[in-house]
Symmetry: none
Subunit: 218 residues, 2 copies
Amino acid sequence: MAPETLLVIDDDADLRESIVEILTESGYRVLACATAEAALPLCHEVVPQLVLVDNMMPGMGGMALIPLLKKDFPATRIIMVTAFSTVDNAVAAMKSGADDYLAKPFRRGELLMAVKRALELRRFDRQHCDPEMDEALACLANQIRREILATLADRGEMRFMDITRSLGIADHTKVVFHLKNLKANNLITQNREKIYRLTPQGKKILDCLHLLAKKISS
Amino acid sequence: MAPETLLVIDDDADLRESIVEILTESGYRVLACATAEAALPLCHEVVPQLVLVDNMMPGMGGMALIPLLKKDFPATRIIMVTAFSTVDNAVAAMKSGADDYLAKPFRRGELLMAVKRALELRRFDRQHCDPEMDEALACLANQIRREILATLADRGEMRFMDITRSLGIADHTKVVFHLKNLKANNLITQNREKIYRLTPQGKKILDCLHLLAKKISS
DNA sequence: CCTTTCCGGGAAGAGAAGTTCACAGATGCG
DNA sequence: CGCATCTGTGAACTTCTCTTCCCGGAAAGG
């Protein structure tokens, strides 16, 4: 198995080299650069699985880089590293899409732990599964079913007629048809008392739909 | 339009009432309770669009409540409120799925701003379900078309017959049909000399498919 | 009790999606 | 030139999805 590629972005050469060394020793393939501006073209050459980015840098800061990275490389994990950590800064970084936040100075173990954890989450993301894929996508191809999912996500749990009316569909049996389809695909359940709600599966799929919608419109 | 329902969870009665008052004045419909344990059944009765939850509470803490809320009400936004804010705590909250993090004491304006922002993000997520989404998903629902995308992503650029043979499809006109479909949806192009390749759009969508696949299998 | 609303099954048909066939221009090759 | 391959088009046909209509039982409400 090929080693993961990591990218370290930090304008402080000493610290950068030190991080690179720690990660290289641990068996990762490590790239590095000194500015956010240099990072983007580098990523387009060799797509990293994980980026460690400093917050305070001359030119574009690490914070501004995060959305750009997320846009071009959605599967890449991002850990923000910072010398002057504040609660507001940490919250802002996580909101932007960072997966973790590391305050300098950190110990070797902290760094490795954060890196390992982020990469594991990513691997978890990467697995494939074709047979159900077909059914799930066929299920999602229908707009009414997507609306049902969205409505259920919105309201948490609903009865049959609530759903029907909420969608503004006159013929309730049409809704039955799609509900059955969604149930068969395990995206919704009807646990007790006929109440419909999303399955965890359904929630995940819906998340994905939002992501897809953003990509399409961008 | 119905006012949004907010839920305030805080064991400090004074602060809770004060928050409720501020939010009620601003036109929201506000529920409140004193413990995380009481919050869940309350949510099942009236699903809130936004929850403000205190971190330190007797019994289950706010941090533990977040994943539970996320699970049952994926579309509900969560703002964590805390008296003893630390970077680590903020990062942990955001990792758990909080959408924002507010340190006590906060001013009225800060609170309202955070609430307004979270609700706006939520509305933004909620839309986006309609425009080209339908076509894109209809396009992806077909397995052959997904295979074509994957093959093209793999090989970069291919001629018509290469694709056909690579898929092991005897009838080449069937492939033509799907290629036309993909072209119409702007996922592939035929730039020069009849050579097919992915569009940037197509690449993004394929990324998304991987993401979806992983969500399904998990 | 009767009536209404809720929740759903199942069949028939409209309509969309996918497949196959028949054919044809372009290109290259001996 | 004669033949084969590449790259399609268009129409007919099949298959599947979706909608619509008719029906019925269960619960609620008066």
